[in-house]
Assembly symmetry: C2
Homo-oligomer: 444 residues x 2
């Protein structure tokens, strides 16, 4: 007896409908923000991911050598592929580029609730423009997508951090690069021992860095940040400039009515090494507080991967935690697909019957007929029509052009009528909203 | 400089729009046939594919050992996953099951025109019902999907073969299984040496088999088949039964008006070992005559993979050849996405401006605004509005609640009006069909 691999999902129709509802909702919202969809290979050269994304991802790759001896990996994220693609055609693309993607990604991790080895990511990236307005626009997109599912500020919040402010603070100390310190801050909410880690990284300054972190992680507003950086005269001016960016960002959020959904939170630094500015993560509120989405500005990645400098900001929403949350909050549309019509005919007059079936389908209706190889008596066909859940049945009598009988299955009401009239009636019903009841398959 | 792997595609927005148009068209048509979408893992245990699909596929797999020591493979096709899933829940699923899928598949082959290492397959399978009516229904679905793209009988045809008739013919000879003979027939259109291959397989009967094949491959109608099998008295009765199935199948096709699109052609046997009855392939007409789709009945696979007997018939359409044909025939919708409105405001009044942007987006319109960090003068904003391709611009003067100026970009006509009136006007325009011109992104 075969089984799926651990951490991989089988999507039975109701599961697939939920997945497709998530995809469709994302696509509907990104269109309103002027985004265009792109996609890239699921399998990529290994070095595309090991080179710039940092160790966190490299250790979790599904990678192998293909038959041609190439080191290849299933993509763990979309951003390096995006950076390569945009970089390769940067000169010919209209800026800013607003690109979105819905695609599968793979990480070899221990499967657990909300974390699988295969998952879908919905990515949105805004490239070719610097500054807080672009960061704000992207943040609004994330907030709008989550809201479109029916989630409110009581269900989720977005925490915004800032690598620029960390870099500014850390510029006072002599360090072998800030990356290991940022990695330590990233881990501090999940693991003990940050202070010891910092002392190991910077024996002379570790204690001062720890003290600064301890204050900064509790600053949940711009006033607190202003006060903190005010202590350090050499940093004051650059801090003020950056806080003006923060004001611009938060004004975007306020203008769109999303202030209750966001908070300033410098403990958010994001694990991927390529981020350079604002970073943000969306979390469930209450309960397990799982991460729903994350992103930020990465102004150097395109340059590093494709040789073309191109500022960029982007985010990814995962489908696993989001789907769990939608189920918990009862925000999943009912899945109850029903055919519109079941067509019946006497004897083996497939030709006439199928002409009718085909005409109705050409009008967009979901139409079934009895496929049984045996016992196609009218009563048997009617039983099957009943079991199919069809809203109407349509009985075509023996004469191909004669009248037909249209029956509303639930009420049992039926009417003998002209074939063309029956088709018109059904097509007209079909155009009415809610014709088949709440049905994901009717959702565009 | 990084590149994608050979045989893998990058989908820039216009390419992705064509891909999504293909997916959307398929999904639209399968819904009319009452199909439900499912999906399964992209990565599967290797043995799922090596066990039952035959050597043709097994030699073309991307397979490797994962970090847990499991032999795994990227799926080369969807059918084994489907068989496992349906088999595992067969008792609880309403029959017949009509299941469709749109998914990526992978084969390590030499990349060439129409053949890549990664491609998309659109699958449709009808399970739980035997007989020619189900085969006919599925064939109609394939014909309807291809027609929905605008392709006609001049562009493609479907050739229908029959493993039952081959099995019947070969039952006269003493053979070590019919599979190697069917494989030889499958290869005969692409390769020389079939007669020699048959003589090697069956030294005593090879010549007689070759003679039979030579006649059967030229039978393009039921009369010819009836005449051929009439020669062999012991086969006559079973041949007549099978030809009655053929009549049922062709009557379905005729009823739906697709007779010009199909032909009887026993040279079609399909490479996969699991087929058991009718098999069919859709080809381009003329030109290179590449295969667009293929499928058939596979009544034993679910039983073999999941232990539950379940008759089934299905097909897969590949996206690569289909996309090439649509381009050749100029059946690709124009991709020219345009935002509906570009919103401008004076100074740094982001809060008021973004409230307007957000409201318009909530009504479903694609709305842009100027993200530039510098030089947000009105004239600069207007330039950017112009370059964006937006249909309208909307200028919100300094006072957040004051009148706004709505401008139709192409004609230059503009009108100062109440904010609420401008929003209503835009929403109303947006609801009109063709508001943004031919735009794939508006296609449901």
């Amino acid at each position: 007896m075969h089984r799926a691999l651990p951490g991989f999902r089988e999507f039975y129709p109701a599961d697939c409908a939920l997945r497709n509802h998530i995809f469709a909702t994302f696509r509907r919202v990104v269109r309103r923000f002027g985004f265009e969809e792109f996609d890239g290979p699921t399998l990529e050269p290994l070095e595309l991911f090991t080179e710039k994304s940092g160790q966190e991802i490299a250790s979790q790759l599904f990678h192998f050598e293909d038959r041609g001896g190439r080191a290849v990996a299933l993509r763990p994220e979309m951003t390096p592929t995006l950076a390569r693609m945009v970089g390769a055609r940067a000169a010919g693309l209209k800026r800013p580029m607003r690109w979105s993607n819905v695609g599968e990604a793979f990480r070899y991790e221990r499967p657990q609730k909300g974390r699988l080895r295969s998952f879908y990511q919905m990515n949105a990236d805004l490239l070719g423009v610097e500054g807080a307005a672009a960061d704000g626009e992207l943040l609004l997109l994330l907030l709008s997508v989550l809201s479109e599912f029916g989630l409110t500020a009581e269900d989720f919040h977005v925490r915004i951090g800032d690598r620029c402010l960390w870099n500014l603070f850390l510029s006072q100390f002599s360090l072998d690069g800030v990356e290991p310190v940022l990695a330590a801050i990233d881990r501090m909410e999940r693991e003990e021992g940050t202070r010891e880690r910092l002392l190991a990284l910077a024996p002379a300054d570790g204690a001062a860095i720890w003290d600064g972190i301890s204050v900064l992680r509790t600053c949940h507003g711009l006033d607190g940040l202003r006060q903190f950086f005010g202590q350090f005269a050499p940093l004051r001016e650059r801090a003020e400039q950056r806080l003006a960016d923060w004001e611009g960002l938060l004004e975007c959020v306020a203008g769109a009515g999303f202030s209750p959904n966001v908070s300033v939170d410098l403990t958010v630094v994001r694990g991927l090494a390529y981020y350079t500015g604002f970073v943000f993560e969306a979390f469930e509120r209450g309960g397990e507080g799982r991460a729903l989405a994350g992103g930020g500005r990465y102004d150097d990645l395109v340059s590093k991967l494709a040789g073309t400098p191109l500022p960029a900001v982007g985010f990814a929403i995962g489908d696993v935690t989001l789907a769990n949350l939608l189920v918990e909050k009862q925000l999943v549309p009912v899945y109850h697909p029903r055919p519109a019509v079941f067509v019946l005919w006497e004897g083996d007059r497939h030709r006439e019957g199928l002409a009718l079936v085909t005409e109705l389908r050409r009008h967009g209706l979901a139409v079934l007929w009895d496929l049984s190889p045996v016992s196609r008596s009218l009563s048997k066909q009617m039983q099957r029509a009943d079991r199919s859940g069809a809203i109407f049945s349509l009985f075509a009598a023996a004469d191909g052009n004669g009248p037909v009988t249209l029956r509303h299955m639930e009420s049992g009401e039926e009417e003998k009528m002209d074939r063309a009239a029956a088709i018109s009636r059904l097509v007209e019903c079909h155009r009415r909203p809610g014709f088949t009841g709440p049905d994901l398959r009717q959702d565009p």
